[in-house]
Structures are given as structure tokens and as C-alpha cells.
């Protein structure tokens, strides 16, 4: 099975307080570290596992600047066979649809049975996979947490829905799936693995090589600024030492919470 996985390089937000820069045009990026989008990593692991079971190859593609090269290499160190880097200045300010169009051009240059994306990335839009499927006129499923290969034209999939339940469907290939975290346990990629792929060739493509014009990827949706909303009143913070706070709290629980 030929599998294409779309990956994105994003800032690592877990422990770090994301802050907005002084003029509100972007977040403070100076102290940020970047890594592959967590959802995308699950997708690559899934692709590798499918390939190991049924044969074929896994290609990872990213749309981004020079630095994005590192996430492609990391996923190749993990086990992806090939990488494709789409890099064009015009794409740096595009919107989700623009990214999806660029990816469509990549897909059309190859022949893939399965295209995977992560369910969402740092901006929480969860859109590129669905848009790509529509552009390619392929069936789509989002938030996929289970994939079973039925035959070379069909997959049985599970989607994560509300309440933690799972919606089971059958989908025909070729198709596009967006992958939810927890679908598998991604393998570890150490420094050694990354060093091994440091010299591997990753072809770069720009818009013209993809056959796209700048107008086609001009954004229709634009981020205007970053801001911190005015805080509403919020909670009444209890003061005092722990004993005092606990006493006050117990009173409140009785009064407002109905605890007897």
C-alpha cells in the first residue's frame, strides 16, 4: 500500500506558556522549541505499522520553510521511506485551503492508496485533511482511532466520537483519514536515529513545480492578530492560611453547594 502522511512542524506548547509579542502580530517565538505535530506523529506510526503488515511504502510530506526539514527527517528516522518538502514563500502566509491545494498537487504527482493527516495541529482548525479529501474527491473520515486493512480496496475504521465511544465504518480506498491521538503507541526516535538520516536526500518543490500559481493559494481567511481577552470576573480567590481557607470553603460548600 502506498501511504502519504502530511506532517507539520509546530511549536512545543506543553509546558511552555505561549505569550503574545509586544505588537500582537504573533506569539513570542524566541524561546520556543519546535517538533512534529503530535497528531501527525501518531499518523506516521500508524502508516509504518500498516506498511510493515501489508507491504508498500510510506512517504511523509510537509509544507513549510527550511526548518521544516527537521520534522521530515525525524519521521524518516522513525521509519518513513521517503520525504517531500514543499517550500515556497507564498505558502508562508496562506490559509488551510492553500495548504490543502499544495498537498493535492503533491498527491497528484504520485499514486497513493491512503493519505493520512493528523486530526488537528497547533491552530486547532482540524481542516486540512477534510479539505484535501474534497479537493481530490476522495472519501474522508476524521478523528480515526482504529484502522484495519480489509483488502486492497477497503479499510475498516473507527472514529472517536462523544463520550469516548467509537463509530465503526467501512471506507473504500483511495481515501483520506485524519488521525486521532491514542490510535497506537508511537515508537521512540532517538538522536542516533536522526543522525542516521541526516544525509538522506529530500526533494524540495516550490509552487511552480507543483503547477500552482500564487493567486490560487492566496488566503481567503486571515489571522488579524493575537490577543489576550479581557478576563471576566472569574473566581473569588480565597485568602488566608490553609486552615482559614479550608474553613471558609467549608462554609461556602454548605451555603452554595448544599453540602450538609
Amino acid at each position: 500500500m502506498e501511504i502519504l502522511v502530511c506532517v507539520k512542524r509546530v511549536p512545543d506548547t506543553a509546558e511552555n506558556e505561549i505569550e503574545i509579542n509586544s505588537d500582537g502580530t504573533d506569539i513570542e517565538r524566541d524561546d520556543l522549541v519546535y517538533s512534529v505535530n503530535e497528531w501527525d506523529n501518531y499518523a506516521v506510526e500508524e502508516a509504518i505499522q500498516i506498511r510493515d503488515k501489508v507491504g508498500g511504502s510510506v512517504t511523509v510530506v510537509t509544507v513549510g520553510d527550511e526548518e521544516s526539514d527537521e520534522v521530515l527527517r525525524r519521521e524518516m528516522a522513525m521509519g518513513a521511506d521517503k520525504g517531500i518538502h514543499v517550500n515556497d514563500e507564498a505558502l508562508e502566509s496562506t490559509d488551510g485551503l492553500g495548504i490543502a491545494k499544495a498537498l493535492k498537487a503533491v498527491v497528484e504527482k504520485g499514486s497513493y492508496d491512503l493519505i493520512l493527516t493528523g486530526a488537528q495541529a497547533d491552530d486547532g482548525c482540524a481542516q486540512v485533511g477534510g479539505m484535501l479529501a474534497a479537493l481530490l474527491d476522495l472519501p474522508y473520515a476524521s478523528l480515526v482511532n482504529y484502522i484495519e486493512v480489509v483488502d486492497d480496496k477497503t479499510l475498516k475504521i473507527g472514529r472517536e466520537i462523544e463520550g469516548g465511544s467509537q463509530e465503526i465504518s467501512e471506507i473504500s480506498m483511495p481515501c483520506v483519514l485524519s488521525i486521532q491521538t491514542g490510535i497506537n503507541e508511537p515508537r521512540y526516535v532517538g538522536i542516533r536515529g536522526i543522525r542516521k538520516v541526516a544525509g538522506v536526500d529530500i526533494p524540495e518543490m516550490d509552487l511552480s513545480e507543483l503547477g500552482l500559481s500564487e493567486e490560487e493559494v492566496a488566503p481567503r481567511v486571515k489571522r488579524l492578530d493575537y490577543f489576550v481577552p479581557e478576563m471576566g470576573e472569574g473566581a473569588e480567590i480565597l485568602e488566608g492560611d490553609m486552615e482559614e481557607i479550608a474553613e471558609k470553603l467549608v462554609e461556602l460548600l454548605k451555603a452554595k453547594g448544599g453540602i450538609k
Binding site: 509546558e15 524561546d31 503507541e185 508511537p186 521512540y188 526516535v189 538522536i191 542516533r192 543522525r195
Partner: protein, 688 residues
């Protein structure tokens, strides 16, 4: 000289001279043994190199202390004494055994040097030796068969009980004693009867008893017994010899080598492969142990030498809390795997990955590297290097639990397992008392003494207290010191021991550069893991001291004086951290520090010093999620309670975290308090 009985050499058996059998049996026996040994050596030849041929003086001293002196055996007193008796007996009887073999075809053979007076002394000794060995075997058999101490038990998933093998061998040894004694006794009885001067049998020995019983026996019977017991001994002896390499009694042959080739340096981790430098690491095809042949020959020898005593497992904290790791079975499973793949008779089978066949992933991740197993093993088997090597293999294959991947990725990106920003590494200095400052070293600021804080102490709010205490102590001592601040990355101690060697190398290179550019001539740290890393894993940096050593020095210099403990109800106990105690032999220094505080009542837990019980582990171990029945910290806190302590003093940030958690979850909150040595010192310090 007239013989009371016909010697074996001259006896006619089925028309053939006894001497022929007496030559054939040893020939076949030794031949078979040589073949078996050659087969057993094959896997060692295929294994990885291990340079153990240096430091001959140290090795010989070790041989005398641990092999000849059986130094570790009395740690379990009853078993220890039994074994020492059997071992000493074997050594003494080895001469007799050789003589006996030769007497079979050369009846007047006397062992060189043992003619005359020395020979009589020897004969005297050997009979007692045989008797004591026999008694020891009976005691051992009863103990093993009827009382079956816990540590010998075999959990169901590891197969059948090993009791039969043990009793069988005890039976073989006892038989050897019996046959040897019977051989002597029958001759003496015959000599007696023939009016010849009987050889002396020391009173109350087995031979002596036999001689008494056989005094009146018919000569024919005596002759029969003499010949029969000779060949019984001969056959049993060579059978036993050939049996040894098939089970735990292989140690009878290999232990002398295993002890000689022992690991000389505590706390150090072997390189990925001996003979490959750090620069050449990138060229290696594979890291770590994935298949049996990836172990070094010494590690395979360890597997052969394991005596299946269970002392390691008995002291292993992971085993105690119900994790899937039992050190004894790590070894026994590997040994059985060698036997299976490299049989004495049959084809050598192809290699198979160890993880997933004989080992489980969690089994290998469960180890805290505390070293209790290695401390205990009477034949000086090593464990930590093997576990690190197995982990290297798993890391190489990407088989790392998700719970560890997060901190490893954070260490790669941020130089600390928490993923917190580098620039916040020294934020703990902001809450120092008024007027106390800690310079951050660099090109513009050089200092005498570098305080290496490491990640946990830098980023964990509770552990910041330790850092601030160290700073205040050093300030009182007017030390010219500083910290690396955001230039400091994790020491990488656990990174290495969890198998991520390349990440460790990266952290180490970075830190060495930072340390050298500080201009410091001395490093002090309050983190025993950092201490061990800097001392053993790093090279080319100034000498390292643990804060307890620093404090003791300053006490002796008269720079630190303490207020007495005014609360008479406080009972303190000191918990030895694994990486100060066992790995670095720093047992007394922290105790001396505590004893310098007037009025401090201190008791020792039963498990103290080299028998200290690991708190749960440090570094990456804090992130690992084991399957266990209880926490090590909980077990340790109960041990403190058992000796009536209400204050536990630790000298390690991880011990502090683990034991405090232990107190919170065992209902001792409010009754037992845990504190770091530095906190206690600061509290009692008289500051002018």
C-alpha cells in the same frame, strides 16, 4: 609392604585388571568434560569483547577476598556457613580426589609434597573435611527440602521448582564423601583385622564410624566394599564433573574466573561496545543487546556462574514491590537460553530477539539501578551493565514506553526532562533570602567552586529548597562559588542508564564545555546522581564533591557550628541514597555530619549502608509508570517507623521526593517528616 586388601589396580574385574577401568573412567570422564567445556565456551567466543585482563594486582586481591575468603557469603549467615564449609571442604578434598583417581592405577601414588608429616596432617584434615561437608549437605538438604526459604521459590511463570536439582547435587556430594570414607574405612578395618598397622582415622569422622562398624566384617565384604566404593567414587566424581556445566553448579568451575574477572569500578557504566570510541559510535550498525551474542563474554560467564541463590532478588526493591523484574530470573532465563541455543549435543540454533522471548519490556525498564543485587551476589555477577545494554537495544528499536518518551524528548529539546524553558533553570535563585546572591558563571565571571544543581533540583519547587539551602551554607562558609544557570543541562545520568547513549553524549559534551569555561577548580553537587555522573561518566573536569563531603570539611575547619536539637522527641534516621552509598561508598561522611549536631538522636534502620533499600529511583525513573503492588518509598517509610524514627534524613533530591510521597500515602503524615541533609544543616546552623 603387605597390603591388607588387594588394591583396585590389581583387582580382576570380569577378567580385566582394575587398573584399566581406573584409567578408562578418568579418560572418558575428562574427555567428556573437555568436550562439554569446549561447547560451553563457544557462545563466549561469539560474544562481544570485554577487557578484563588488566589490573592484575587488584584482581588477585579480589580473588583472595571474594573467592577464597567467601567474603559475601555470611551476609546470609546460615546459608553462608553451610557453603563455606562445603567450599573449604572441596578445596581440601581436591587433593585427595586427585590422589584417589591415580591410586586406581598406581596404588602407591603419593601426592607430591604430601609424603611424611605433611601427609599425615593432610589426612587428618581431609577426614574432618569430608565429615563436615557431609553434615553441611544434610543440613542444607533439610533446610532446602523442608524449610524452603522464600528466596529459593520459583514463581509459576518461571517454570518448575529447582529443588530437585539442588537436592540431587547435595546427594551427589554426600555420596562422594560416603564413598571416599568407605574406601578408607574398609581398608583400615582390613588392616586392623590383618594385624597390620592401620592408617589413622580421626575420631568422630565418617570414616572412623564406618571403620568401627566394619571392624568385625568378613574380609570378603571388606574387599568388595573397598573396590566398589572406589569405583562408585570414581564414577560419581566424573559424573559430577560432567554434570556441573549443566546447571547452577557450573559455578564450581567458573566462579574462580568470574570473581577474577569481576567489575572493578562501582557506579560506572560500560561503553556501548568495548574498543569503540565515542567518536566511532555513529558507525555501529546496532546499539545495545538485542540478541544473546550482543552480551560480552563476561556477561555470558555471569549467566553460567549464577548459583540460583536468590540473594539478589531478595534485596531487589523492584522485586519487593511487585514489579515484573526478578534479577535472579533475568540470569537464569538467559542461562537456560544459552543452554537451549548452544546445546552440548546438537545443532546451534539461530539467534532470536531476547525482548519478547525470554524478557518483557517492562521487566527491563523496572530496574532503578540501585545496585543492591550486585552488592549481594556471592559470585560477583553484574546486573546494571546488562540492563543498560538491554535498554540500549530497546531504544535503538524505538521500544520505549510513552511515559519515558516525553521526558526524553524534553531532554533533547530543552536539556531537562520537564520540558521547561532553559532560561527558567535558575529561577529558584529568585526566592533566596535578602542579600544572598548566586553568581551565574561564564566568560566574564569565573569562580573557584561550581555548584552543579542538575535538573530536578532546578525545576521542582520542593527541591528548590535544597538548592537554596546549599547556597546559604556556602555563603556562610564564604565560598567563592557560582552556578551555570541556563548553560547547565541535565547531567544525563539516567539518560545513559536508560539506554539513550547518544543523547547522554550530547548532554555530556555540552556540560563539560560549560563546566570548563567556569574556571572552577572544584565542583560540588547535592544530587548523588549528578555526583556519580560527573565522577564516573564525565572526563576531564575538576574533582567533584557531594555536599555532605563539603559540609563535613567545613565542620572540621570550624566554619559551621550548630544549634542543638531542642525537641527531645525527635528520633532521626539516615537513609543511604543508592548513588552515595553503594555506588560511591560514602556511608560515613553523612553520618558524621549528622552526629556533629548536638542533641541529635540517631538510629539505624535494619537495612542501612550497603543494604539500604532504594527509595524508588531518580531522574527518568520518576516519569516511568511501573506496574507494582506498592511504592518503594512506602516500603522504606515503614522501615523507618519500625525503628522508631520520626525524622528521615536523606541526602538526595529524589529520595526526598519519593520518601515524602511515601509518607503522604502511608498515613504517616504529621508523624514522620522527611528532610534533606542540607535543609537540616541550614535549620540548625548558627549564623552570625
Amino acid at each position: 609392604m603387605e597390603m591388607a586388601l588387594t588394591p583396585v589396580a590389581k583387582i580382576s574385574l570380569l577378567g580385566i585388571s582394575g587398573a584399566v577401568f581406573a584409567v578408562l573412567i578418568p579418560l572418558i570422564g575428562i574427555g567428556a568434560f573437555a568436550y562439554i567445556m569446549a561447547r560451553r565456551l563457544i557462545p563466549l567466543a561469539k560474544a562481544q569483547p570485554d577487557p578484563r585482563f588488566d589490573r592484575v594486582g587488584e584482581r588477585l586481591k579480589g580473588l583472595v577476598k571474594y573467592w577464597l575468603g567467601q567474603y559475601k557469603h555470611p551476609r546470609y549467615l546460615v546459608a553462608g556457613i553451610i557453603h563455606i564449609v562445603i567450599f573449604a571442604g572441596f578445596l581440601i578434598l581436591s587433593v585427595r580426589s586427585i590422589s584417589l583417581v591415580i591410586i586406581g592405577f598406581k596404588p602407591d601414588f603419593v601426592f607430591p609434597g604430601l609424603g611424611g608429616f605433611l601427609g599425615s596432617i593432610y589426612d587428618f584434615l581431609k577426614d574432618y573435611a569430608a565429615t563436615f561437608v557431609f553434615i553441611a549437605c544434610i543440613v542444607a538438604a533439610i533446610r532446602r527440602g523442608i524449610f524452603t526459604p522464600e528466596r529459593y521459590k520459583v514463581p509459576e511463570k518461571y517454570g518448575k521448582d529447582h529443588t530437585f536439582e539442588a537436592l540431587f547435587v547435595l546427594g551427589l556430594i554426600s555420596s562422594l564423601m560416603i564413598f571416599e570414607s568407605l574406601y578408607s574405612a574398609s581398608l583400615v578395618a582390613a588392616q586392623y583385622q590383618a594385624g597390620l598397622h592401620p592408617e589413622y582415622l580421626p575420631p568422630l569422622t565418617i570414616a572412623w564410624f564406618f571403620a568401627k562398624i566394619l571392624k568385625g566384617a568378613p574380609r570378603g565384604l571388606l574387599q568388595f566394599l573397598n573396590t566398589a566404593s572406589y569405583f562408585a567414587h570414581d564414577l560419581t566424581f566424573f559424573f559430577f564433573l560432567c554434570f556441573l556445566p549443566f546447571g547452577k553448579h557450573f559455578h564450581v568451575i567458573t566462579s574462580i574466573f568470574n570473581v577474577y574477572f569481576r567489575k572493578l569500578d562501582r557506579g560506572k557504566v560500560k561503553p556501548v561496545r568495548w574498543g569503540i570510541t565515542e567518536e566511532e559510535l555513529d558507525e555501529l550498525e546496532s546499539f545495545g543487546v538485542k540478541y544473546l551474542e550482543d552480551f560480552t563474554w563476561k556477561h555470558l560467564l555471569d549467566f553460567y556462574t549464577c548459583v540460583d541463590c536468590g540473594r539478589c532478588a531478595d534485596n531487589c526493591p523492584a522485586n519487593t514491590v511487585g514489579r515484573p523484574l526478578i534479577p535472579r530470573f533475568l540470569t537464569i532465563k538467559a542461562r537456560d537460553h544459552i543452554f537451549k541455543r548452544f546445546p552440548v549435543v546438537g545443532e546451534i540454533s539461530p539467534r532470536e530477539p531476547l525482548i519478547g522471548t525470554i524478557y518483557e519490556e517492562d521487566e527491563i525498564w523496572s530496574c532503578t539501578t540501585c545496585g543492591a543485587c550486585e552488592e549481594e551476589c556471592p559470585v560477583l555477577n553484574e546486573y546494571i551493565d546488562k540492563i543498560v545494554d538491554l535498554r540500549r537495544g530497546m531504544v535503538d528499536e524505538g521500544m520505549v514506553p510513552q511515559s519515558l518518551q516525553k521526558p526524553l524528548n524534553a531532554l533533547t529539546k530543552r536539556g531537562n526532562p520537564y520540558g521547561k524553558m532553559e532560561k527558567k533553570r535558575a529561577d529558584w535563585t529568585k526566592s533566596l533570602p535578602e542579600g544572598i546572591k548566586v553568581p551565574v558563571v561564564g566568560k566574564k565571571k569565573q569562580v573557584e567552586t561550581l555548584f552543579f544543581v542538575d535538573s530536578a533540583t532546578s525545576y521542582d519547587e520542593r527541591l528548590n529548597e535544597i538548592a537554596r539551602a546549599v547556597v546559604q551554607i556556602m555563603t556562610v562558609c564564604e565560598e567563592d562559588f557560582g552556578i551555570l544557570g541556563k548553560a547547565e543541562k541535565d547531567s544525563g545520568h539516567e539518560v545513559r542508564r536508560f539506554g539513550e547513549e547518544m543523547l547522554f553524549q550530547t548532554l555530556k559534551e555540552h556540560n563539560i564545555d560549560a563546566i570548563l569555561s567556569s574556571g572552577a577548580s572544584r565542583i560540588v553537587t547535592a544530587d548523588p546522581h549528578a555526583y556519580n555522573a560527573l565522577k564516573k561518566d564525565y572526563e576531564g573536569i575538576p574533582p567533584v564533591e557531594h555536599i555532605s563531603e563539603y559540609i563535613l570539611r567545613k565542620i572540621k575547619e570550624g566554619r559551621l557550628r550548630f544549634k542543638p536539637i531542642d525537641d527531645p522527641t525527635l528520633v532521626f534516621t539516615y537513609h543511604d541514597p543508592c548513588y552515595l552509598g553503594r555506588h560511591n561508598l560514602l556511608y560515613d561522611v553523612p553520618r558524621q555530619v549528622l552526629d556533629s549536631i548536638p542533641g541529635l538522636k540517631r538510629v539505624e534502620m535494619e537495612r542501612c549502608r550497603d543494604r539500604s533499600f532504594c527509595c524508588g529511583g531518580g531522574g527518568l525513573m520518576l516519569f516511568y509508570e511501573p506496574v507494582e503492588e506498592q511504592r518503594m518509598g512506602q516500603v522504606r517509610v515503614r522501615m523507618a517507623d519500625e525503628v522508631g524514627a520520626n525524622r528521615i534524613v536523606v541526602a538526595c533530591p529524589f529520595c526526598l521526593v519519593n520518601l515524602e510521597d511515601g509518607v503522604k500515602t502511608t498515613g504517616f503524615e504529621g508523624k514522620i517528616q522527611v528532610m534533606d541533609l542540607t535543609e537540616l544543616i541550614l535549620k540548625q546552623l548558627i549564623i552570625e
